[in-house]
């Protein structure tokens, strides 16, 4: 290969500008430059630490205790005051962070996994029987009103605390599934997949090794979007009495506050809605920045 070697050497010398970076590190570099995204991430991490503390029993252990009088004002002992029966609003609001994260994480992870798997299968076998069945299931689930579905599942599971999770997972995977299916249909006709076929790589290995890794950017962004949607739904469902029953949730706090607001006591309502707003806002900023950083049309 006497002809090939010298020019390749020159090629590599000329390519000194090429930085050693994977697509991920390039995306990370881009993400770090996004101020709003970084701020969002910082706030989300604060919330996450709060949730971790609750899970490990470091704080918010006495959220159910009655430690004061009715509707106490903000003070050193009760940072956000107390509610109708004298429970500490700060403790309850803090405890609710863990509820939100628990629901958000479980739903986001499960819905994304389900969406990735079914979406990839539908896309890879597009036009065939598998695809038709998955598309039909998506269509059916899509056509049932969300709150009706939750109520139905809650009823069917007879008060199981995970009824809400099941309902959300079974509807939230659909968007991810459709997006992944579209991406897979695009990917499976690309030449690197054909090359894998030509080498003799088995079909399931092609899906796992060559196709799904190339949908990770979609999965990551979708899971953050699902996370936010799950938190919001959890609050609404709890408010309606369809969600959290044995624990504490911002939705339950807002439900409690409906009487209080009429009486001119806003602590419960403000604590729950400000914390919810902060988390959703921060997560959305984070998700937007992540989407920009991972967009394959911009990462070249």
């Amino acid at each position: 290969m006497s002809t090939a070697l010298p020019d390749a050497t020159a090629a590599l010398a000329g390519g000194g500008a090429q930085r050693r970076e994977s697509l991920w590190s390039k995306a990370a570099w881009k993400f770090r430059r996004d101020r709003a995204g970084m701020a969002g991430l910082a706030v989300v991490l604060l919330y996450f630490i709060a949730a971790l503390g609750v899970w490990t029993g470091l704080w918010a252990t006495s959220w159910a205790d009655i430690g004061g009088g009715k509707w106490e004002a903000v003070s050193a002992t009760h940072w956000f005051g107390t509610n109708l029966i004298g429970q500490d609003i700060f403790e309850r609001a803090l405890y609710s962070v863990s509820t939100a994260f628990e629901v958000g994480l479980v739903v986001a992870v499960m819905a994304t996994l389900l969406g990735a798997l079914l979406g990839a299968m539908a896309g890879f076998f597009s036009g065939r029987f598998t695809d038709e069945v998955i598309l039909w299931v998506m269509g059916v689930l899509d056509s049932i009103p969300f709150y009706l579905l939750v109520a139905a599942i809650a009823f069917a599971l007879e008060g199981n605390p995970y009824a809400m999770h099941v309902a959300m997972i079974s509807t939230f995977w659909i968007t991810t599934g459709r997006l992944v299916r579209g991406e897979v249909i695009k990917l499976k006709n690309l030449e690197f997949v054909e090359a894998a076929h030509a080498i003799g790589v088995p079909e399931y290995t092609i899906i796992l090794r060559h196709i799904i890794p190339n949908t990770l950017h979609i999965l990551l962004v979708q899971s953050t979007i699902t996370f936010v949607a799950a938190i919001k739904s959890e609050v609404i469902l709890s408010f309606l009495g369809l969600g959290v029953k044995d624990g504490m949730s911002w939705g339950l706090m807002i439900a409690e506050s409906t009487f209080e607001v009429l009486a001119g006591f806003f602590n419960n309502f403000l604590a729950a809605s400000v914390l919810l707003f902060g988390l959703v806002m921060a997560f959305n900023m984070f998700a937007d920045a992540l989407q920009d950083a991972l967009d394959p049309r911009q990462v070249s």
Binding site: T3, P6, D7, A10, A11, A13, G14, G15, G16, A17, K30
Partner: protein, 329 residues
Amino acid sequence: MSGQPLLRVRDLVVEFSTEHGVVRAVDRVSFDVFPNETLGLVGESGCGKTVTGLSILGLIPSPPGRIAGGSIQLDGRELVGLSESEFRRIRGRDVAMIFQEPMTALNPVFTIGSQMTDVLRRYKGLTRRQARAAAIELLAKVGIPAPDRRIDEYPHQLSGGMRQRVVIAMALSCGPKLIVADEPTTALDVTTQAQVLEQIVKLQQEFRMSMILVTHDLGVVAETCHRAIVMYCGRIAEKAEIGPLFGAPRHPYTVGLLESIPRVGVHEKEDLAVIPGMVPDLLHLPRGCRFADRCSRRQARCEEALPELDGDDESVTRVACFHPYERMS
């Protein structure tokens, strides 16, 4: 070439800001286009030929791009610094553009007739009926069979070659003095390319227009242009009339390009001459001649200083090289 140039480009500099720094895509490029002349802009991807063409129509995407210096004069009028609305009045009427991919220039939801008559009515003030007649005539001119039927079709109903003809007809519709054609036949098949090229040459003579043909294909340049400019890394390497450019090229890059093309009818199954290495990264350009590290005639000076074009505007060929091949004959 005699007479006043239609287009005068002097020391044009176009820069793009990227994540990793400012890239100078076009670096002090000067040339003239005379009336009724076809000028070829040739080079490999990233050499700045397309950016040069776009800057004449004020189509540099900004940001990230901007014209950082120089002047572009059309018929004595300065174009650099014009506002978008002023450019909009010039585009189509004085200068028109033909793109590589005809689908990007055509709106898929309107018939080709409505797209053409739109332009004709706006710029030429024709009535609906006059505009339609003019459009049909233009379609016939660019070689579309049954133009009175085709005019009511949508772009997707036409083949690639037909679409490119429609785009050419639209470019011609307001009688521009200059057409910038960016790889107009690259997306087409060989036999279609031959048809379209022949049509372009014929129309250029018939309408007495000037044309800048941006292409990577030296064969296309040889068959359609009067003069050509070879660009490398944002700079002009060589500027010459077609005869001398192909007959006695002077810049080592031009020579290398010509030698590395396999030719029909010269059957030798042996290695092609090769320009070693690859185009340098525009972010990390060498100090000296940009072609130096791939050049067989490189000497110490080439790595120190950037060569400028020799000769003056009167010269038949001009080359930016310290050690060019000498002209034979």
